[in-house]
Assembly symmetry: C2
Amino acid sequence: MKRDDDVLVHEVGTRDGLQSIDTIFTTDGKMEWIRREAAAGVPQIQVGSFIPPKLLPQLADTPEVVRQSLEIPDLIVSALVPNLKGAENAMIAGVHQVGVVMSVSEAHNQSNVRRSTQDSIDDFARIVEHRNANSDYKDIVVSGGMATAFGCTISGSVPVSDVMRVAEGLVARGADRLNVSDTVGYANPGQVRALFEELYRTVGTDIPVGAHFHDTRGLGLANVFAALDAGVREFDACLGGLGGCPYAPGASGNIVTEDLVFLLESLGLKTGVDLDGLLEAREIMERQLNGEPVQGTFVNAGLPKGFVAAA
Amino acid sequence: MKRDDDVLVHEVGTRDGLQSIDTIFTTDGKMEWIRREAAAGVPQIQVGSFIPPKLLPQLADTPEVVRQSLEIPDLIVSALVPNLKGAENAMIAGVHQVGVVMSVSEAHNQSNVRRSTQDSIDDFARIVEHRNANSDYKDIVVSGGMATAFGCTISGSVPVSDVMRVAEGLVARGADRLNVSDTVGYANPGQVRALFEELYRTVGTDIPVGAHFHDTRGLGLANVFAALDAGVREFDACLGGLGGCPYAPGASGNIVTEDLVFLLESLGLKTGVDLDGLLEAREIMERQLNGEPVQGTFVNAGLPKGFVAAA
């Protein structure tokens, strides 16, 4: 596990947020958001998903968004893919990081992508092989994402041993990093700390590990703190918590990027992100909405008096 | 520090929540809330404050609320007091616990009660003496509350050494317990864990210590998790987060009681509180409001599938 003070903030609102709302942003609108957020110092942005456009019209322009995002200096451009076909298209588009996602829970994986978790792991192996077979792709990072790692809306609790089995399977098949996801908002901080500690024992500390939390039950930032304790230094988050609403039943938004950055900087960790710039990006995002709510506390509360950010 | 699994949840919405809103609840309305929440298993409720009625009309009926609350079996009835006069009245009313509050920050204490922190500590000594001088009062717990322990809206950062000095002063003057407060919502979980660890080193682990967090910057429950790590087992909270609104500038509500209970039970800790009963109490509280917002995520999200509460 990393023990240094640098933390990577990975914006996923341009994928996870947008796919959860009705409004379809224009490509120009997305790019304005992405450019401003990158300029604020956010080092990595998940700019879309390579799935059939008819399934998610909001993300149908992903190849073009990738193309324009690749022109932004120093930005790590990532995209989500559900399978080999998506990964092939993501690599053609030239993304820096391919985020492959599957569910640790069999029932959830079957429901989501109509195959077993083992089939998804096998598909993951083919994605790595595809990357390895083309020298143009040698720098592309293939990330193995494990959803429902902390519980499942269909089958309830998910054994830690199942998470470890999937993690070992992904590492054995060449994953460059792992991402552990609580997309259903079930995780609590005690569970989070224990699971990541077990994960580092299982796969070692050389492979980067990220965490993806939702704030469904108000524990998102507590879970971040617990994951930091275990050594995690990469976090997904969503500007303005786009896509979630705590006042609607079943809401399940990502943790809020600007609140995450505030937490991390409060703890003396370094994100490289300028909070004022982040709020400007939030405004750019927010004015493209059609009534969809945004979340977050930092936007209203601001910095404590005398606050000193990490140098 | 306590290392067992029992955690005391102290409802303060009937004081901290009500004093932060315009609506004035009737005595009957407060009692309906208090009775339902006590029936749900909340062991201790701060039912009011002994300050001049003209300063806080919302709490002018505190003596009568105390009287009726004392009839509820097994409920620990607490009240806040700003000074000796308030403590005398609280003891006449028969409360089980007197919460004396002062600010560690000199500037904040001067602004709030127009005296130095040292003067407040001396006043605290007189409150303990007053309790000790009357055998009828021998079972009354006198709690020393330290506000702005994590930072101050006037003077910015507050040195940990100042908190320790006040804590030692209160213990030396006979405090039965300490309460460490972040009423301004400045605390972060790293700071919280370090401060409570230092506090236990300073005053020992025999004296009970409670924590009072606000969720101004979304870190309230993360701070609870950090305080638990340090050994804290008593927390103030406010049903429905009454009195705070994350969507209004300067909002500064307490952490939400039902979200706190959910966090604690998720961690395998025992609160003795029935979450369904708590939501019924919340409804009783909520229907007495005149448009003031309530907060919280548990009320909408509910329990995760397969959730098992602490036995």
